[in-house]
Symmetry: C2
Subunit: 196 residues, 2 copies
């Protein structure tokens, strides 16, 4: 799926995005100045405007690139026509892995979208709603097929999405368990419950 691009330019943009995501996560979008971002990159603030036309464009790229990745994944899962339990398991695993691997991007996408211009906030929240609705359909189908308990499908989706998105609490502290153990535990917990 690799695309051909002018490598130098591309990697510089990516470098800026990665550093911006880090700073936006740690201090928030508003509290991160273009000067601070530039300093982290070893350049002066006005030079950033050769790569992005505004501070907000950086945020937009972070949010929508990340959203695309999740959207593409759920679409791939849906056309796979697997049974609902497996699709749900795969989605949970994907969320956990992505969160652990690209924490800054996922965190910023999850929280700093508030600072997008209002038209894009609408677009962004719409995409998330569509994503949720796709998950709701999967749970509904699983209930109809007898794979899942009878539950409001929307609460199940909310619980699952909350649980995987909230991994931010864990990330970047001293980790008390291995990532693979955590991933398996979360899948088991959300599918089979904690009670014996």
């Amino acid at each position: 799926m690799a695309r051909i691009k002018p490598t130098g330019n591309f990697s510089k943009q990516e470098l800026i995005l990665a550093k911006a995501a880090l700073l936006f996560r740690k201090s928030g979008y508003t509290a991160t100045s273009m000067r601070a971002l530039a300093e982290e990159l070893g350049i002066e603030a006005p030079s950033l405007y050769n790569h992005f036309s505004s501070k907000n464009e950086i945020l937009q790229k972070i949010c929508f690139n990340t959203a695309d990745i999740f959207n593409n994944n759920i679409n791939r899962e849906i056309i796979s026509k697997e049974n609902c339990s497996l699709i749900l398991e795969n989605l949970i695993r994907f969320h956990v892995r992505k969160m652990l691997k690209d924490f800054d991007f996922v965190y910023v996408s999850d929280h700093e979208w508030r600072h997008l211009p209002s038209q894009l906030v609408t677009d962004y929240l719409n995409q998330r709603k569509i994503y949720e609705d796709k998950m709701v359909k999967i749970v509904e189908k699983g209930i109809a097929k007898g794979e899942f308990k009878k539950i409001y499908p929307y609460s199940a989706v909310l619980t699952i999405l909350s649980a995987v998105r909230g991994l931010e609490t864990w990330q970047k502290r001293k980790r008390r368990i291995f990532e693979t153990d955590l991933e398996n535990d979360i899948v088991n917990h959300l599918l089979y419950g904690l009670k014996k």
Copy 2:
């Protein structure tokens, strides 16, 4: 448990805190100006300094008051000496209700603590770690007593806390289910799982 206070003064402070929590949630701490907060309250910005010595003090009150409420609750549960399943269920229910009732305060406490002065960030995160550790102990005991499955206790706690804290996604949208149904569904999902 009501305490005696100078009512007029108290309710003005509370009014400011409530409005500040709302704005901090919607726009973030840094992007909320004292002028904007004052305007919402129908006063001028400098008048706010008759009630709080700084913008940051407002944030501190929001974060630590909220933390106290959760800490007091878990301590009450622990001394109740109930069985582990019921304690965990009660904690989940408390989180869900508190999130739905005082969304702005809980959301701001969960995310805007980053903007506390660094000494208080340390204090705050310590309190959260202590809270987590208390939950871990409850799960460990439940496993030892055979109430819960064998699982890394810390992953279970992380999944539960993530799930209940992430309810922010739901709040304030058009609600597709009743709050009580949601609360029961979350408890059942987290304790008994989704699979049939």
